[in-house]
């Protein structure tokens, strides 16, 4: 009779013992597997946080030097002030891209407000939003002010913070790039409302209200642009004015924006967002950019706000460490309990071992039988643990996800309000965020799907569990079986009689 037959007979006929061992191994394996999965997930979460909050740095003009400001009287309305320092240009951005490694891309933006019309000159119907709060009525009295839409000049809308943040997505056509001259991207909703599609032309011009203010003929600012792409907002947004909402906004080029605002032709971009390949390298890259001789700190401010990242990361790192400790603890306690159970089990079977020895079975054969029994149960338990740990890990993973989201949102909303206060556009890509330029940029609600944490049990981890589990079991069985291995034949007989 083979030892496998005996092993199987023992497993199936001593069912209570088998089930007990099965449950023990199942619990240990589930804890370890889900622990490792959660550890992986906290690492993913860390990466997500870095990417959501930390993969970007910005460059703006340094407007603190009052000697670089100029102003002039504008008709009867008052004075208009503007900054005359070194403009933020594509050239500056390209120099940085060229000289510093690790930057994925950038988008330079400038905001303007224009009136948009179809190719026949009919002013576009705009989408109503529910965020109206009386400002529209108030400002509506200023001529065609209510027909203006936000226009964002961009060098590469693929790197626009709304798009990288997942708030906007391209649904048709293509992005606006630096190569474009007269391209424009509008929302799918606005296109549908006005019966427009990719390839159609729009006419843009300065609002009569503003034209009269700065003394320009609005007809001379009229410019034809071509729709190259349509976008769609994935979450709700709110804007100060209904007509300036995201759905009514245009993405276009600096060329177009300059044409429709001939009053300030020399103004460059307001802000450039740079995206780095590896968020972990952000600090290094920012330092390198700041050190470039081309970047005069009295002209430009280069910054990344890593405070939020650090505070969220600290929590995640603590959690990671905690999970590591728990895994080690479970492994250790598990191994000890396993050893105790196995040695108890084998002690209980000294008599049986004696019988088998007296029948001429070798000690190796007997130990192999015990080992086989336990390994069969272990393989079954480990296999089931893949499913149970998947369930456990997902439950905990979802909580981790919520936790991370809460922290990212909390981190950014503090940040956004701070930035609102100082009037600088926000640089954040998640949570309740103000991106773009100025105080009137649309504000998006926090977006849940952004940092999706996938809690998966990796095949490699399962393999390691099997490997480590089998090693621990073999070790425990051999140690536990020492009394049997050491048993002298004479002592066997003592057991027998």
């Amino acid at each position: 009779m083979s030892l496998f037959y005996r092993a199987l007979a023992y497993i199936t006929r001593k069912r209570g013992r088998s089930i007990l061992l099965f449950l023990l191994l199942l619990v240990i394996a589930t804890l370890v597997l889900s622990g490792v999965a959660i550890k992986d997930a906290t690492q993913t979460a860390q990466l997500n946080v870095r990417q959501a909050l930390g993969g970007v740095f910005t460059m703006e003009q340094n407007t603190s030097d009052s000697s670089k400001w100029e102003s002039k009287e504008v008709g009867s309305y008052g004075t208009q002030s503007w900054y005359t320092g070194e403009p933020l240009s594509e050239e500056v951005a390209d120099t940085i891209m060229e000289k510093v490694n690790g930057i994925r891309g950038y988008n330079a933006t400038a905001t303007n407000y224009v009136v948009a019309a179809d190719s026949e000159g009919n002013t576009l119907d705009l989408l109503e939003s529910d965020s109206d709060d009386g400002m529209n009525g108030l400002l509506g009295s200023y001529g065609d002010f209510n027909s203006t839409v936000a226009t964002y000049a961009s060098t590469d809308t693929a790197f626009d913070s709304y798009f990288t943040g997942g708030y906007l997505e391209l649904v048709e056509g293509r992005h606006v790039t630096a190569e474009d001259e007269n391209a424009v991207m509008i929302s799918k909703e606005l296109a549908e409302l006005n019966g427009l599609s990719v390839g159609d032309k729009l006419l843009l011009h300065m609002s009569e209200f503003k034209a009269s203010m700065v003394g320009v003929n609005p007809e001379e600012t009229r410019m034809e642009v071509e729709i190259v792409g349509l976008f769609h907002a994935t979450t709700k947004s709110s804007a100060t004015l209904s007509n300036w909402s995201m759905d009514n906004s245009l993405y276009t080029t600096m060329n177009v924006v300059r044409y429709v605002r001939p009053d300030t032709p020399d103004e460059g971009y307001e802000k450039i967002h740079f995206y780095v390949d590896d968020p972990a390298e952000l600090d290094r890259i920012v330092e390198q950019v700041k050190a470039l001789p081309d970047i005069d700190p009295t002209d430009f401010i280069v910054q990344c706000d890593s405070n939020n990242v650090d505070s969220v990361m600290k929590h995640l790192m603590n959690m990671n460490r905690l999970v590591s400790v728990l895994i080690v603890l479970v492994l250790f306690v598990g191994a000890v309990i396993l050893y105790l159970i196995l040695s108890g089990r084998i002690k209980e079977r000294v008599h049986e071992s004696g019988i088998l020895l007296s029948l001429g079975f070798s000690k190796k054969n007997i130990i192999c039988q015990y080992l086989t029994e336990i390994l069969v149960i272990a393989v079954l338990a480990f296999s089931l643990s893949i499913f149970t740990s998947g369930a456990v890990a997902n439950t905990i993973g979802n909580q981790l996800q919520d936790y991370t989201m809460d922290n990212i949102s909390a981190g950014t909303s503090v940040d956004a309000s701070a930035e609102n206060g100082s009037g600088t556009p926000g640089a954040n890509v998640d949570g309740a965020t103000i991106v773009g330029s100025g105080d009137f940029a649309p504000e998006f609600e926090g977006q849940g799907s952004l940092t999706k944490i996938e809690v998966t049990i990796q095949p490699l981890v399962i393999l390691i569990l099997y490997g480590a589990g089998i090693v621990i079991i073999c070790f425990s069985v051999v140690i536990a079986a020492m009394p049997v291995l050491r048993m002298k034949p004479r002592e066997i007989l003592a057991q027998m009689s």
């Binding site: 009779m1 037959y5 005996r6 007979a9 023992y10 006929r13 001593k14 008599h351 049986e352 004696g354 019988i355 088998l356 020895l357 007296s358 029948l359 001429g360 070798s362 002298k488 034949p489 004479r490 066997i492 007989l493 027998m496 009689s497």
Partner: protein
Amino acid sequence: MNRLEICKMSYSYDNKRYVLKNVDSQLEAGKMYAILGPSGCGKTTLLSLLGGLDSPTEGQILYNGQDIGKLGLADHRRNHVAFVFQSYNLIDYLTPKENVALTSKLPPLPILRRVGLNEEESRRNVLKLSGGQQQRVAIARALASDADVILADEPTGNLDEDTAAEITGILKECAHLMNKCVVIVTHSNDLAKQADVVFRLKKGELRE
């Protein structure tokens, strides 16, 4: 097999006091031997030495003229001897059928039938058999193995008189009909009467 020879064998657990002293004897196939003696005189010790569970302190045991110490005790245990004990020593998660099949490739049912177990009993859990039936299984297991020597330590110690007589009968058949060498340690005079040769162990010495 022809014979098991004990040559000038002595044994001591502690190298001070000898349990067995200068034992000299011969055991042959086809005969049933009984070993009698007071408790603690070394009967079990003698049996264990014959069975290769330990080696003698002095002297030797020969199987067909060869020193079992040189042949290898494990080999001797596996191929030449089978034990039957007072406490049956069956594997409790195996059926009688499987217990007999443990060391044998022979079909177990005919052997079990021979010692008096029917087919239903042969498939039962061994713990659900009576003591006598369990001892029959143990004997069947010894018979099924290739062993020429059956060493029985008080095989009827736990059984009532009638059952003990039946078991003794079976062991006698093993010796006479199957040409085994059966060595039985016992306190029972009834059993000893059935034996072909009776040894008495006293103060470490073996006498016929």
